[in-house]
Symmetry: C2
Subunit: 191 residues, 2 copies
Amino acid sequence: MVSPLVNYLQSFNVLPAGMVATVCEGFDEVRLKRNQFFLKEGQVCKTLGFVESGLLVYYRLAENGQEIVADFAQENEWVCQYQSFINSVPSALFIKAVEPCVIHTITLDNLNRLYSAIPGFEKLAKQLIEAAFMQMVNRQLEFQHLRAEERYERMLLVYPSVAQRVPQYYIASFLGIAPPSLSRIRKNRAG
Amino acid sequence: MVSPLVNYLQSFNVLPAGMVATVCEGFDEVRLKRNQFFLKEGQVCKTLGFVESGLLVYYRLAENGQEIVADFAQENEWVCQYQSFINSVPSALFIKAVEPCVIHTITLDNLNRLYSAIPGFEKLAKQLIEAAFMQMVNRQLEFQHLRAEERYERMLLVYPSVAQRVPQYYIASFLGIAPPSLSRIRKNRAG
């Protein structure tokens, strides 16, 4: 079976076929159990990960100890606190496995080595970061000024799988909705 | 006088000195008067712009005709509806000059020609997009779950120049605060 990372990298049609395998050799496999951390607040994010299976949540702790959810990562997505990774600065966020995860990770050194060695790999990386950037821009546009119900509807549409797989209080936090309000919204939809 | 675009491109130390001039030759100068549009909703964004001077606002129109501000661009920043530019799809946003602007613009064709011709230019572009991506991530983290007063304080800190140069109702819209509430916050700060 061809690995999901190989399939993913080939799908962009940027790297020559033989080079995809060489890129994949720069990655290590990491397995996380449920509730294990990919990254903790204050740590430097040492690797960029490609999620083969499982689901992770990005969050920070408010002063009152509340988890404030910033993002999720699931299969065929990248997981990384990018600023911490690129600039070797401590992360303000935790990244935790919500489900058991298989993740392919690469260090910044190995990544830079591949950029130099593999023609087209930096172009591919640029495309991936462009896509991540446009996703963030769209999310801001979609969520800005929507009412709570509309934000929830939007999440069901854009991230249907995440909405089914994470605890409700993570969804409420991600959407900036109080958990009782989210329960009410869900009841109204169901009824 | 060396142009701001040359200074900007040199500051990254990625392009060989002679190549910076070649990159700049791919750009055209555009001047916008106050209230002129860089881009209108429904148009395809044909160029990526580097703002030499002036200030622009990104906004979309709500159904009730209200302007919902998504972003600003000022001197030494890029201006573009990136998804529209890259994918040649109609823009959901307007981009309008709030002040008279001098902008250096480049088409996607010229940009792609430079990526192929200039060693290191794709690497530089990747770095610029990484920076834009990280700025969006940070903005989400900073603004998520902050109270209106805190969002305003944060904006004064992160975008001090913008906060002084645009009409108050643009700031209120960008921060998702009702204009009367923003007036109250500003009065409380001043008092």
